[in-house]
Amino acid sequence: MNRTLVAVVLAVLALVAPWFFYPVFLMKALCFALFACAFNLLLGYAGLMSFGHAMFFGMAAYFFGHMVKVWGWPIELGLVAAVLGAALLGLVTGALAIRRQGIYFAMITLAFAQMIYFLCVQMPFTGGEDGLQGIPRKPLFFGLIDTENDYVLYYVVLVIFLFGFGAIYRFIHSPFGQVLKAIRDNEQRAVSLGYEADRYKLLAFVLSAAVAGLAGATKAMVVHFATLTDVAASTSGEVVLMALIGGLGTITGPVVGGFVLVAMQDYLAFVGQLVLVIQGAIFVVIVLGARRGLVGEFSAWWKARRRPG
Amino acid sequence: MSGRVMAETLLKVDGLQAWYGESHILHGVGFEIGRGELVTLLGRNGAGKTTTLRSVMGIVERRTGSVKFAGRETIREPSNVIARQGIAYCPEERGIFSSLNVEENMLLPPQVKAGGMSLGEIYELFPNLKERRRSQGTKLSGGEQQMLAIGRILRTGATMLLLDEPTEGLAPVIVQRIGEVIRTLKSRGFTILLVEQNFRFAATVADRHYVMEDGRVVDTMAAADVQANVGKLQAYLGV
C-alpha cells in the first residue's frame, strides 16, 4: 500500500471527522488510543506487559485536575506537570518492577496499581468516591484558543495525540528503539554485547508512563473530571484489551483498538453490566483464535492477497 | 557372533523421518533389533542418533514412517502409550529430578508390565545408590546420576531399554562399571538400543552396530567385524 496515500487519507479523515461524529466521542477515543499506544510501546518493543498502566493514566488525570482547578494553573503547565508526575511514578515503580520478567512483571505492575488505587481512595486530594469534578477548560496560548468549544478542542486533542504518537514513533526508530528490539528478541545476546538491558527497559517504561499520563491528563480536560475508575484495575485491563483488539506489537493497532473499544462502550452502554461480559468474551476469543488483532489479521490477509496464487 | 540365528524382531524401524520445527533431522532411518540383542547407533554429533531414540520413544512430535515394537505400529502414538508397550528411556541429559530424592526418582517410573526388577535387586546392582537414597537427586555425582537414570527404568517391567550416551563425560572407572551393568542387563534378557560416540566402549557390549550420518543409517556391522574396520569407523565418527 502506498504509504503517503494512506497518510493523506487519514489526515483528511482526521480533519473532517468532527462533522460526522460527536467531537467528545472522538476526543475520548483519541485519548484512549494514545493510552493504548503507550501501553503497546512497552509490550511490543520492550516485551513487557504492564497490567497496571491505569496508575499513570489516572494519576496524571488527578494531577492535571488538581493543578488546573485547585491551584489555578494554566492548561499548558498542567499538562506538562501531569506528564512529569506520571513519568516520575513510572521511574519509581518501573525500577522495582523491572527486576522480574514476564508474568511476574505483570503481577507486580498490577499490585502497584492496586496500591495506588487504595491510596487514591484515601487521599483527600482525589475527592475519593466522588472524584475530582468540574475541571475547567481554560483557553490556551494566552487566550487565543477557546477550548470551551468542543470543535476547537478536538483539534487541540488531535495535536496532542499526534505529538504523543510521534514521540513513540521517533523513539522506536531511534538507536534506543533498535537496542530495545534487540533486547526483546534476545536479551542475553544484547547483554553480552555490552548493553545494560535494565536501563533500556526502564527508559521505555518511563516513556510509556509519560505518554499514558499525557493521555490521562488530556482526558481529564475533555470530560471535566478524574475519578477512581481512571486508576482502577478495570481501566488497566481495558488498555490491554485495546492493544489486543488492534494487534499487539503493531504501531497502528492500539489506535484502532482504542477507537473500537470506546465506540463499543458508547454504543453498548444500554446493556449495562453485560459490557464487562462482552469485553471478557472478546479477550478470550482473541487469545484463542485471533492473536494478531484487527490490524495484524488485516496485514496478513493483505499480504496473502498480493502473493501470486 | 557369526552363525548366530537372529532372534525374533522386537523393534523394526523403517523409513523414519523426523522434524524439530522446520529442521528436517531424520531422512529415512531403518534398522532392526532382535529380542535380547544389544545394538548400538554410532555416529558423530548431529548424525541424528538421539533424535532416532526420541522418535522411537514418541517424544518427537513430527515423525513419519514406521516404528513397530513387538509387531505393533507406534508411529502415531504419544510417548506415554509407547512407554506402556514396554519401552523405557534413559536420556542423554539423564533427567534426574531435583525436586525428588534418589529413592523417589527411583520409584517414579510406573510399572508398565510385570516382571520388572525389584527395588532390592536394583540396589544390589547399584549399592551406592542405596546409601544415598534420601539425598536430593541432583546432589549425586555424574556417575551416580547415570546409574540412577539407568536403575529407575529397570523396575518398570520394560523389555527394551533406550540408552542415550550413558558414558558421556564420565571417568574411565565409572565407564567400566557401566559397561558391567549393561552386560549384566543383557544377560538378564533386556533388549537394548544404545547410542554412543565412544565406539570402543560400544564394542565391549554390543552384538551389532549401525552407523548413522546426516539422519540416515549408512553402515552396519557385527561386533566381530569391528576390529577389522577400526579405520572406517574412525572416519565415520570423525575421531
Binding site: M49, L96, A97, R99, R100, G102, I103, Y104, A106, M107, I108, L110, A111, F112, Q114, M115, F118, L119, V121, Q122, A233, G237, V240, L244, G272, Q273, L274, L276, V277, I278, Q279, G280, A281, F283, V284, V287, L288, R291 | M57, I59, P78, S79, N80, I82, A83, R84, A88, Y89, P91, G95, F97, S99, L100, E104, L107, L108, P109, P110, I153, T156
Partner: protein, 295 residues
C-alpha cells in the same frame, strides 16, 4: 496514632485485630497455594482464581437458599462442582495455549474472570448477600473474645494447607506432580499421562479456591466482586513469597495476614497498602521472593 508499644496497647484490640489478620492470612495462604500449584504445572497465572473463589461462595449460598443444603454439605459439594467447571475450562481453552507465551494464559484467565464476574454481577448485582455462620457463639479467652466460626476457619485453613503440602511433598501422586513440573516430557516418556495430570492439577487448584470461598461465605458478604478484590492482593503475596515452595506460600500467606492485622492496630490507614509496600521492599532486596528460586 501515638506509639505502638505492644505492652501499652489494649490486649483486646491487639488480639482481635491479630485474629482478623490471621483469618485474612488463612485466605491469602489458601489462595496463593492454589495459584502456586497451578502455576507450577501449567505455567499459567490463573487470574480466574478470584472468580472461582467467588463461585465457591455463591455455590454455598445458592445451595443453602435454593436447595436447603447446609454449610457442611456445601463444603464438600461446592469445590467439586467448581472444580469440574475448572476442568472444563482447562480442556476447552487452556490446553490450546500452552505452546504460547505464558502471558497469553494470564490474558485468557483474565478474560474468563471478567466474563464470570460480569455474569454474576448482572444476575445478582454487586451488593452482597449474607450467609449465616454455621457455628454460632464463641469463647471468652480472657485476653480476647474468639468467635467460634472464625477459630474454626483458621484451623480448617491450616489443615487444608498442610494436607495439600503433604499430598504434594509426601505422596506418589505428589511426586508425579513435582517431577512433571520439572520435566513433563520425560515424565510422559515413563508412561504417565501428563496431560491428564495437568487437567487434574488445575481442577484441584480451582477446587481449593472454591473451598476457600465456601469458608469465606459466613465471614464476608457473598458478592460477585469478592474474588477480584482479594486476588489482586494475593498476587502481591505470591510475588513476595516467590512460587518456589509450597511451604513458602503457606508461611508467606499467614505471615502477611498477621502483618496486615498488626498494621491495622498501629496505623489503620496503612493496612490496605502495607502488603504492597512489603512487596516493594522484597523486590528491592530479594527479587526472586522470600522463598523463591530464580529459574
Amino acid at each position: 496514632m501515638g506509639s505502638c508499644n505492644i505492652f501499652e496497647l489494649s490486649t483486646q484490640l491487639l488480639f482481635s485485630q491479630l485474629l482478623l489478620g490471621l483469618i485474612n492470612g488463612a485466605f491469602y495462604a489458601m489462595l496463593s497455594l492454589g495459584l502456586a500449584v497451578i502455576f507450577g504445572m501449567l505455567n499459567v497465572i490463573n487470574f480466574t482464581h478470584g472468580a472461582q473463589y467467588m463461585m465457591g461462595a455463591f455455590a454455598a449460598w445458592l445451595m443453602l437458599t435454593e436447595l436447603n443444603i447446609p454449610f457442611w454439605g456445601a463444603l464438600i459439594l461446592a469445590p467439586i462442582l467448581v472444580g469440574l467447571f475448572g476442568i472444563l475450562i482447562e480442556r476447552l481453552m487452556l490446553k490450546r495455549i500452552y505452546h504460547l507465551d505464558h502471558l497469553y494464559g494470564f490474558l485468557l484467565t483474565f478474560g474468563l474472570a471478567q466474563i464470570i464476574e460480569g455474569l454474576f454481577q448482572w444476575r445478582w448485582g454487586s451488593s452482597g448477600a449474607p450467609y449465616q455462620s454455621p457455628i454460632a457463639g464463641g469463647y471468652n479467652l480472657g485476653f480476647m473474645y474468639l468467635p467460634a466460626y472464625r477459630g474454626f476457619v483458621v484451623i480448617a485453613a491450616l489443615v487444608i494447607c498442610l494436607a495439600t503440602w503433604f499430598a504434594i511433598e509426601r505422596t506418589r501422586l505428589g511426586a508425579y506432580l513435582r517431577a512433571a513440573t520439572e520435566n513433563p516430557t520425560l515424565v510422559r516418556a515413563f508412561g504417565i499421562n501428563v496431560p491428564r495430570l495437568i487437567t487434574l492439577t488445575y481442577g484441584l487448584g480451582v477446587g481449593l479456591a472454591a473451598l476457600a470461598g465456601v469458608l469465606a461465605a459466613p465471614i464476608q458478604q457473598v458478592s460477585a466482586l469478592m474474588g477480584t478484590n482479594l486476588v489482586l492482593v494475593v498476587f502481591a503475596v505470591v510475588v513476595i513469597g516467590g512460587m518456589g515452595s509450597i511451604m513458602g506460600s503457606i508461611v508467606t500467606g499467614f505471615g502477611l495476614g498477621l502483618v496486615e492485622g498488626f498494621t491495622k492496630v498501629c496505623y489503620p490507614p496503612g493496612s490496605n497498602t502495607v502488603i504492597f509496600v512489603v512487596m516493594a521492599l522484597v523486590l528491592l532486596v530479594k527479587p526472586a521472593g522470600l522463598f523463591g528460586q530464580t529459574k
